[in-house]
C-alpha cells in the first residue's frame, strides 16, 4: 500500500507499558503518543529515566521480556508493529527503519570488519552479489565522510576513532535507504567537535534521502539545531509536544520551562544554575494525576492530583498535558519568567 505523502510514517498511539515479573512497575509508559512523518525530524526529549529510551526500544521491538505492552499501537506505514510476526518485522527493520545507537564502539561487532558489517545490511534485504554489496559499502563510507573508504572498508572497529565508528553506524543504518531513521543519543558519546560534524552529516543525509527521523536525546542544544518537532517526556508520560520554535519561545508545561531554565546559556546574567528541585519519582511510586506535581512550582491541589492526564491542544501543532494550563488557571507566559527554584523553596513540595 503506497503511503500518502502527508500520512505519518510512524505513529505511536497510546502506548502503555508495564514491567511485570519480580519487580512490578506498572505504568512505566503511560499513554505515549506522537508521530513522525516523511522528511520530518521529531525529537523525543527528557531526563534519563523518563521513558524515552523505553519508547524507542518499543518502536524497535527490542523490549526485554519483562516489559509488556498493555495497550496502544505502534504503526509504521499504517501497520501495527506490535501485532506483527518475526518474519514481517525482519523485513521492516534495516530495510525501512534504520537505527543509530549511542555508543558506536560497543554497537559494532569487534571481530568483524566494518565493510562486512555494512555489506551484511545490504545482503539481508537486497538481492545482490557479495561483491556488489562490498562496492556499495565503500560508496556508503565515502558518503558518510570516512576518508580512504576503499582501505577503511577492511578495518576493524577498534582501529577507528569514535567519530569514524559512528559514521560507520550511520552508513549501516542508511545502507538500504530506509524511510525512517531512529537515532538514540547519536552524539552523546562523542567529543563536542565531532558531535557537530556528525549532526551535519545527518542533516545532509536527511535532505538527500527524505527520511523521517526520530531522535532520542536529552540535549536541548541538539534539539534546537536539528529537530522540527519536539516531544517532551517526563516519568513515562508525554507532557508537551510542539514545533521546535514554540517549545523554546513559548513552553506550555512547567517541566519544559524548568528544563529550558536549567540550560546554561551564554549571555544570561550570572546566577546559580537553576536545577529542578527534587528527583524523578521511582517507577511504581508515581504520584496520582500529574506525575510532575511533586516538583512543580505551580501545582494546585484539587486539579493536579485528581484528574487523569491527557494531551490537549493549545495552539497550532502545540499540545500540552498541564492540567492547569488546559483548564485556563495557568497562563503559559507565567512559566518562563518565574524563578522555579524560589517558588518551590517558598511553598514546599506537596505530596
Amino acid at each position: 500500500m503506497k503511503p500518502h505523502q502527508d500520512s505519518p510514517l510512524l505513529e505511536v498511539d497510546g502506548l502503555r507499558l508495564d514491567l511485570v515479573g519480580a519487580d512490578r512497575q506498572p505504568g512505566l509508559l503511560d499513554g505515549v503518543s506522537f508521530s513522525v512523518s516523511r522528511e520530518q525530524t521529531v525529537a523525543l526529549i527528557g531526563e534519563s529515566g523518563c521513558g524515552k529510551t523505553m519508547t524507542a526500544m518499543a518502536v524497535l521491538s527490542l523490549l526485554p521480556r519483562v516489559a509488556q505492552v498493555m495497550s496502544g499501537e505502534i504503526r509504521f506505514q499504517g501497520a501495527n508493529l506490535l501485532a506483527m510476526g518475526g518474519r514481517s518485522l525482519r523485513r521492516i527493520y534495516g530495510a525501512q527503519i534504520g537505527t543509530v545507537f549511542q555508543n558506536p564502539m560497543s554497537s559494532l561487532n569487534p571481530t568483524m570488519r566494518v565493510g562486512k558489517q555494512i555489506a551484511e545490511m545490504r545482503q539481508l534485504h537486497v538481492d545482490e552479489s557479495g561483491a556488489a554489496s562490498r562496492e556499495r559499502a565503500i560508496e556508503l563510507l565515502r558518503l558518510v565522510g570516512v576518508p580512504r573508504p576503499d582501505v577503511r572498508v577492511d578495518s576493524y572497529p577498534y582501529e577507528l576513532s569514535g567519530g569514524m565508528q559512528q559514521r560507520v553506524m550511520i552508513a549501516m543504518a542508511i545502507a538500504c535507504e530506509p524511510q525512517l531513521m531512529l537515532a538514540d543519543e547519536p552524539t552523546t558519546a562523542l567529543d563536542v567537535t565531532i558531535q557537530a560534524e556528525v549532526l551535519d552529516l545527518l542533516r545532509s543525509l536527511r535532505e538527500r534521502l527524505g527520511m523521517g527521523i526520530l531522535l532520542v536525546t536529552h540535549d536541548l542544544g541538539v534539539v534546537a539545531d536539528f529537530a522540527d518537532v519536539v516531544v517532551v517526556m517526563y516519568a513515562g508520560q508525554v507532557v508537551e509536544q510542539a514545533p521546535v520554535h514554540a517549545i523554546f519561545e513559548r513552553p506550555t508545561h512547567p517541566y519544559t520551562a524548568a528544563l529550558l531554565a536549567s540550560m546554561p546559556q551564554i549571555g544570561r546574567p550570572r546566577s546559580r544554575l537553576a536545577a529542578i528541585p527534587g528527583r524523578v519519582p521511582p517507577a511504581g511510586a508515581y504520584p496520582s494525576g500529574c506525575r510532575f506535581r511533586t516538583r512543580c512550582a505551580f501545582a494546585k491541589a484539587g486539579t493536579c492530583d485528581a484528574q487523569p492526564v491527557d494531551l490537549g491542544m493549545v495552539g497550532d501543532g502545540h499540545a500540552t498535558a498541564c492540567l492547569r494550563v488546559l483548564e485556563g488557571s495557568l497562563d503559559p507566559a507565567d512559566l518562563s519568567g518565574a524563578d522555579q527554584r524560589n517558588q518551590v523553596l517558598l511553598s514546599g513540595s506537596e505530596s
Binding site: A22, D23, T53, L63, P64, V66, V69, L82, A83, M84
Partner: protein, 289 residues
C-alpha cells in the same frame, strides 16, 4: 507479538540484586552443609550407629534396612558408619593437600609476579612442565616414590595443584603490580616487602580465596581417584574413594553399592564448588562498586 530479545536496556538493577540474593542463599546452604559435615566428622564416634570396622560375614552386601540405613559392605560392615567416619578423611585430605599447594604455590607466585625477570621465567617453565603432565601420572609417580598411604596422597595432590595456584597468584600479582607502578611513583621509599604485603596481597587474596575453595572440591576427587586405584588410604581405614573401590569390586553381587560413597563425594564437592562460585560473585560484585 513483539519480538523479544535479551539485550541491554535501562532495566532496574533490582534484577541483579535478586540474583545475588539467590547466590547468597546457595552460598549459605553450602556453608551450612560444610559446617554440618565438619560436625559429623568430629563427632563420628558418637554419631555412627555401628563400629565401622566390625565385620559380620553373614551379613554381607545387605541393602538398606532399619539396622543398617545404607546397608552393609562386602564384609558385612555398616556402610553408614563407614561413611560417617570417612568424612574426616574427606575434609582433612583436601584441606592438607590444598594447604600444601598454597605453601608451595602462593609465595612462588608472588615472587614470580612481582620480581619477574629470570626468576619468573624459570618458575613459569617449571609450572608449565608440571601442568603438562597428566595429573594422575604425576600423582601416581609421587605416590610410587613415597609409598602408598593417605599422607603420600595428600602430598601428591598438593604438589599437583601447586602450579595452578602459582599461576593464579602470579596473574593477580602481575595486575596488582601494574596499578602499583602509578602508586610507586608517589610512595617513595616504601620497601618492596611492605608493598607486597600491604598492596599486592589484598589484591591477590580474593581470587586466591575463590581458587582455594574450588580446589578443595577437586582435591577431594583427586584423593578419591587415587584411593580408588588402591594407592591412598589403606585398610582398614576408609575414605569414600576406597569404599568406592570395594563396592565396585563387588559390583556383580550388589550393583548399587557404589551409590552411597559417590553421593557423599558429589554432595561435598558440590558444596565446595557452590561456595567457590558464590565467593567469586561476591568478589566481582564488590570490585564493581
Amino acid at each position: 507479538m513483539t519480538t523479544i530479545v535479551p539485550g541491554p536496556t535501562a532495566l532496574p538493577k533490582r534484577r541483579g540484586a535478586m540474583r545475588r540474593l539467590l547466590q547468597a542463599r546457595a552460598g549459605v546452604i553450602s556453608i551450612a552443609f560444610l559446617v554440618a559435615l565438619v560436625l559429623v566428622a568430629a563427632l563420628a564416634p558418637w554419631l555412627a550407629p555401628h563400629d565401622p570396622a566390625q565385620q559380620s560375614l553373614g551379613n554381607q552386601l545387605q541393602g538398606p534396612s532399619w539396622d543398617h540405613w545404607l546397608g552393609t559392605d562386602g564384609v558385612g560392615r555398616d556402610v553408614l558408619s563407614r561413611i560417617v567416619h570417612a568424612a574426616r578423611v574427606a575434609l582433612l585430605a583436601p584441606a592438607i593437600s590444598v594447604g600444601i599447594a598454597v605453601v608451595l604455590g602462593v609465595p612462588s607466585g608472588l615472587v614470580a609476579g612481582y620480581w619477574r625477570g629470570r626468576v619468573d621465567q624459570l618458575m613459569s617453565i617449571l609450572a608449565d612442565t608440571l601442568l603438562s603432565i597428566p595429573p594422575i601420572v604425576l600423582a601416581v609417580s609421587i605416590v610410587a616414590v613415597m609409598g602408598p598411604g593417605l599422607t603420600t596422597v595428600m602430598a601428591a595432590v598438593g604438589i599437583v595443584y601447586a602450579p595452578r595456584l602459582f599461576r593464579v597468584v602470579r596473574a593477580a600479582t602481575l595486575s596488582a603490580r601494574e596499578e602499583l607502578y602509578i602508586e610507586s611513583a608517589n610512595s617513595i621509599g616504601c620497601s618492596s616487602g611492605r608493598i607486597l604485603l600491604s598492596h599486592v596481597l589484598p589484591n591477590v587474596a580474593s581470587p586466591l580465596l575463590v581458587q582455594v575453595t574450588l580446589l578443595m572440591g577437586f582435591a577431594l576427587i583427586a584423593e578419591a581417584s587415587l584411593s580408588f586405584l588402591g594407592l591412598g588410604v589403606q585398610l582398614p581405614d576408609a575414605s569414600w574413594g576406597s569404599m568406592l573401590r570395594a563396592a565396585y569390586d563387588d559390583k556383580f553381587r550388589a550393583p548399587y553399592a557404589v551409590v552411597p560413597p559417590g553421593v557423599a563425594l558429589t554432595l561435598t564437592v558440590l558444596a565446595f564448588n557452590t561456595l567457590g562460585d558464590a565467593l567469586r560473585d561476591a568478589v566481582t560484585a564488590r570490585r564493581r562498586q
